[in-house]
Amino acid sequence: MADELTTLVTQEMLDSRDVWSEKVYSRPISLNDIIKWGIAVYWPDDPPRIYWDEEYAKTTKYGGIIAPQDFNPFAWPVPRPPARELPKDPGVGERGMNGGQTDRYGVPMRPGDVISTSSALVDWNERVGSLGLTIFTYTEVRWENQNGELVKSRTSVGIRY
């Protein structure tokens, strides 16, 4: 029975620990996508000029337009990935929540950049808490630009119970 589970660690997790996924590449980042991103996250104010005004951006230490650090070059993929099926009546270990995330930033993203992403499950720990048996999983995602420079390294914490 589900409530007799003593661990939520699966064989799939054991097999995939520290195994980095094959890189996936973004399309070249377009200036228009950067501008629209800036408008969205600063709405209703105008975004900073470093996201849309090339002449101004040339005068900064970045020497040109950069993307906001939260910019996602992997939005709107084609072909469309299949929708994730969520269990209708989730059991132990199938309920989940976002435990948070930490980004470490490297070089900025710029128009024309092609970003690669790769991820790996790097760690987990379990404990019995107020939600019962609960596992905290740590996944790292690494983004690099076309020059192999680190753009971002994200550690995400997933919680399942």
Partner: protein, 144 residues
């Protein structure tokens, strides 16, 4: 001005200027449009309630993340060099919430030629609820 703040001008305990937005579907839909994040719980009150959020549709955690970066950029200027940002999502962003991003300097660090400040950050709603406790590390320019 591209940079407003220098390492020598800040102290541990200083609060940085806050960044505030009142969010609703105008903000969430724009964010969904750029981040490909059209999820019913962020668009439809019925779906939000079905997901156990009685008031209805609710905002994206990623948008609060963006607001925190906006706060850091408005504080330092366009040449801000954010090295690290981390958060936990503790409370939901309800429709029409007034979200205020805040930050307090907790540490000044000089290492490898960098002048870094560490901050405690959060996103507080109009009821004083801390929705997003976290931290940031920012490299500041030095007058030295």
């Amino acid at each position: 001005m591209a940079e407003n703040v220098y390492f020598e001008d800040v102290n541990v305990g200083d609060d940085i200027p806050s960044f505030t937005r009142q969010t609703d579907l105008m903000h969430w839909n724009r964010y969904a449009a750029v981040n490909d994040e059209f999820v019913y719980i962020h668009m439809d009150d019925e779906a939000g309630r079905a997901a156990a959020n009685e008031p209805g549709a609710f905002g994206m955690g990623n948008l609060r993340w963006a607001y925190l970066l906006n706060m850091l950029r408005e504080w330092v200027g366009d040449e801000v060099d954010v090295r690290e940002l981390g958060v936990q999502f503790r409370a939901i962003n309800q429709k029409n919430d007034v979200l205020t991003c805040v930050g307090t300097i907790t540490e000044k660090i000089e290492e490898n030629g960098d002048h870094l400040v560490r901050l405690d950050t959060n996103v507080i709603n109009q009821d004083g609820v801390a929705t997003c406790p976290g931290h940031a590390v920012v490299a500041l320019p030095s007058r030295g």
